[in-house]
């Protein structure tokens, strides 16, 4: 056991004066951190605050320029991942490091085999997994192929990998980003169980609610520095948010009451069958009026993506469409030349796609080119046969300043901006064109709080200018804060619609789980807590 010989009562981890610079960028500056044994310690901070760098140092990916690491009270040098594993540190990365076509057992023993032959390792691991499963509720079929497991189960395999290597300290990087709410709850139960067994857990996240729900202590990072370490019970979300960004943040979006006008978007009986013959949209009816934000809530994979793509003019290849879409009273074609993204933009539909890196930007192109994409046919950007690059640059520069995109360098490639600033580039491009209808998917996924606030204000401003907004987000908080009306999608249908002022999380949660509370007696409306080993919402994808 790596913990053997550790000084009794010494903290599990102690960092003293850790610094790390990448060229001119000081990623970590004189970091001190004490994590007591048997606690769950949250580390929060905006994107680029240095959380991941710090954890990479702890896991041996980087060597610190200065500072000291003490595990169990003893100073050690962590030269590589092997050394970190020997010191009893296990890491669950945001993007899992699993071999997809290996079984769970094979993944668990990889790198921690007992000898040259696999058979003894496999049978020992089988016994160990059985024990861990009953101890911590970490049930996974040891012979299942990883690629056939749900994301929640894959994460369990990562945790099992660490525990099999005798990890005493478990670091989890943004563990709930990919989980359904039920899976996240189960994960938290597992983490509490591990803590109660004496394991030390570090949870990196930017979700304040998770910090409040599960951690014992919390440390806040800002621009490479550790700005505070407090007991979770003695703080609150507002204070933490303030520490993260260094100024007051509006957690609620301040917006005047909506003054809906004429219908801008009308969708009637929209159906979509994808190339595999799966019906993704099963008769969608929607209406959005001018000066109104309609939020679409739902667990990811219930047709929201397909709805955005169909409305935005790029349904996946081979999809069959049916139904009616009207913009300002005029029908929009569902197929053919008039139904592509360019035609939709010309018709007045702006689109911020869900995945900015795959669909919103070309990562290797510069910021000014990205600000023009989709609108580069506009007459003001033409110079005879050629594009008027000077005009496009000037236009982009204006938008960069207007949206406070940092660094304000239009010649930088999109991939060199932080997540929040990348998103601002996409939102600036679409919003500044003043579309009649803005389609916006996951506007603040992986975006820091400062940028979230800014983007939310812009969406509200567009609404107040008399435009219609269709907002799709898996963050229920965001939907409830921004929307005037909320529609819940489940299995390709609109399960129900609520006015934002009257909606409650419980009510929306039921709709998201496919239960209409209006049709069910109240006590039956709440789905029973998922039994260990089962995942609610797993079949919807």
């Amino acid at each position: 056991m790596p913990a053997a010989g550790a000084l009794h009562g010494a903290p599990a981890i102690e960092l003293r004066g850790i610094s790390k610079a990448f060229g001119p960028v000081q990623a970590n500056k004189d970091i001190d951190l004490v994590v007591p044994r048997g606690t769950i310690h949250g580390i929060i901070g905006e994107n680029g605050a240095g959380k991941s760098t710090l954890m990479s140092i702890l896991y041996g990916f980087y060597r610190p320029d200065a500072g000291e690491i003490l595990i169990g009270g003893k100073p050690i040098a962590i030269a590589d991942s092997q050394a970190a594993i020997r010191a009893g540190i296990g890491m669950v990365f945001q993007h899992f490091k699993l071999v997809q076509n290996f079984t769970v057992l094979e993944n668990v023993i990889l790198g921690a085999e007992d000898g040259g032959l696999l058979r003894p390792s496999l049978s020992r691991a089988r016994g160990a997994l059985k024990r861990l499963a009953s101890e911590y509720g970490l049930q996974v079929d040891p012979d299942a192929l990883v690629e056939e497991l749900s994301v929640g189960h894959q994460q369990r395999v990562e945790i099992l990998k660490a525990l099999y290597r005798q990890a005493d300290i478990l670091i989890l990087d943004e563990p709930t980003g990919v989980l359904t709410p039920a899976e996240a709850d189960h994960l938290f139960r597992i983490l509490r169980g591990l803590r109660d067994e004496g394991k030390t857990i570090i949870l990196i996240t930017h979700k304040l609610r998770e910090i409040m729900e599960i951690t014992d202590n919390v440390s806040v990072m800002r621009r490479g520095e550790m700005v505070a370490s407090v007991k979770t019970a003695e703080t609150g979300p507002a204070q933490l948010a303030e520490l993260m960004v260094g100024r007051k943040v509006l957690l609620r979006v301040e917006k005047p009451p909506a003054r809906p006008g004429a219908p801008v978007l009308e969708v009637r009986g929209l159906r979509m069958v994808d190339a595999d013959g799966v019906e993704r949209l099963r008769g969608i009816d929607l209406e959005i009026r001018a000066g109104e934000i309609l939020g679409i809530a739902g667990v990811a994979g219930n047709g929201q993506t397909q709805l955005l793509e169909v409305l935005g003019g790029f349904p996946e290849a081979g999809a069959k469409l049916q139904g009616e879409i009207r913009l300002n009273g005029k029908p929009l074609p569902l197929g053919g030349a008039g139904a592509d993204g360019r035609a939709r933009r010309q018709a007045g539909v702006g689109h911020v796609p869900e995945d900015r890196q795959a669909e919103g930007l070309i990562m290797d192109f510069t910021a000014w080119e990205n600000v023009a994409f989709g609108y580069h046919h506009a007459p003001e950007f033409q110079n005879g046969m050629l594009m008027d690059n000077a005009a496009i640059r000037a236009d982009a520069m204006g938008k960069i300043q207007h949206f406070d995109i940092r660094p304000p360098n239009p010649d930088l490639a999109a991939r060199n901006f932080s997540g929040g600033n990348q998103q601002k580039i996409v939102v600036a491009r679409e919003v500044e064109r003043n579309p009649d209808l803005l389609l916006i998917g996951q506007p603040t996924r992986g975006v820091d709080i400062g940028a979230i606030e800014f983007i939310h204000k812009r969406i509200v401003a567009l609404r107040d200018a008399g435009k219609a907004v269709l907002l799709v987000s898996v963050e229920l908080d965001e939907i409830m804060a921004l929307s005037d009306r909320i529609a819940v999608m489940f299995d390709g249908r609109i399960m129900g619609e609520r006015l934002a002022d009257e909606a409650t999380t419980g009510d929306l949660g039921c709709l998201m789980a496919g239960v209409d509370p209006a049709l069910t007696p109240p006590e039956a409306a709440i789905p029973p807590a998922a039994a260990p080993g089962t995942d609610a919402g797993g079949g919807a994808g």
Binding site: F61, S81, N107, L110, G115, G116, K161
Partner: protein
């Protein structure tokens, strides 16, 4: 077609498939570890040349084999350096190795032996002789089993038996050993190996070196087993056929045996019946000789099921947070 002819064709198929099988397994190790290798051809050619040269100089086929392995491993090292250490494009490195081998063997051959790129003919101990297995002659009169044992199974060079033994051995290494588990993992998701604290670079070099050794045996067999000396471009695309067989076999050892047998059989049939008379029409010899290559095109075009290559294949590994 009588039984004796069938046996003869099968016997010939076994000989002809041997270099394909060795090269195919060589590619299997490399590609399973995530390093694509279209330089099998070049490595075999180089090995054929070095083995023939050394076998001629020393009069010893075993020293020739060693030299063949050395030649191919040197080329494999080059491929490893380019594609693992320097994270270059694996296809371009493979093409370069093919050109390098093609030019270098002829150039050196002409410089050393002055025979227009050939090596002098090998004879006696400079070649691998055929081994007669025990009881081959005793069993010969036994119907069916006798000819199969005496003609088909007995009477090959040691390298043929090595090649066939490599199939179960490769399967065992791949699926029953720690090295095999890590090798397969590094070809699917090198990050999983890296975060487990195992060196991706060392694993991949190991796989590429094994690939070199097997290509070396294949080349040595061509020059000192099946023929008697090196001839310019004597691999004649076998490296590419082995690659096609590898895809056909979906990167699995036992399937590789079957796939390479199919190619060997086609070549054997073409050799036995240059003008295949089907009664109505006579298939010209050119077509028969082209058969293996036609099958290669069909396989590579994806007509024979969907083959999923190792997921990290072709991608140099760059450590990221």
């Amino acid at each position: 077609m009588d039984f004796a002819t069938v046996i003869q064709i099968l016997d010939s198929a076994v000989r002809l498939m041997t270099p394909l099988l060795l090269a195919c397994l060589a590619g299997l190790y490399s590609e399973r570890a995530g390093v694509f290798d279209i330089g099998l051809e070049g490595k075999m050619l180089m090995a054929a040349f070095t083995s023939a040269s050394v076998a001629y100089a020393t009069g010893n086929a075993w020293l020739g084999l060693l030299a063949g392995i050395g030649g191919a491993v040197a080329m494999a090292g080059l491929h490893g350096l380019a594609s693992i250490s320097f994270r270059g494009n694996q296809l371009i490195s493979g093409v370069a190795i093919n050109f390098l081998a093609s030019g270098l063997t002829v150039l050196l051959g002409q410089k050393i032996f002055g025979l227009g790129g050939r090596t002098p003919s090998l004879s006696g101990a400079a070649r691998f002789g055929e081994i007669t297995l025990p009881f081959a002659d005793t069993l010969r009169p036994v119907p069916v089993i006798g000819p199969i044992y005496a003609e088909l199974i007995s009477g090959h060079t040691i390298l043929v038996y090595v090649a066939f033994a490599m199939v179960p051995l490769t399967w065992w290494v791949l699926y029953r050993t720690r090295f095999g588990l890590r090798l397969r993992a590094v070809g699917e998701n090198p990050a999983s190996v890296d975060t487990a604290g195992v060196s991706v670079t060392r694993l991949r070099y190991g796989a590429v070196m094994i690939c070199g050794v097997l290509c070396g045996i294949a080349g040595a067999y061509l020059a000192t087993g099946i023929s008697a000396g090196f001839v310019k471009e004597m691999t004649a695309g076998r490296g590419f056929i082995a690659l096609a067989a590898l895809i056909f076999a979906k990167w699995r050892p036992w399937s590789a045996l079957f796939a390479t047998f199919l190619f060997g059989l086609m070549e054997a049939v073409a050799n036995r019946f240059p003008n295949l008379d089907l009664g109505i029409i006579t298939v010209p010899s050119m077509f028969m000789n082209a058969l293996p290559y036609i099958l290669t095109v069909i396989i590579l075009a994806g007509f024979v099921g969907r083959a999923i290559p190792p997921r990290a294949g072709g991608e140099p590994y760059v450590k990221e947070r």
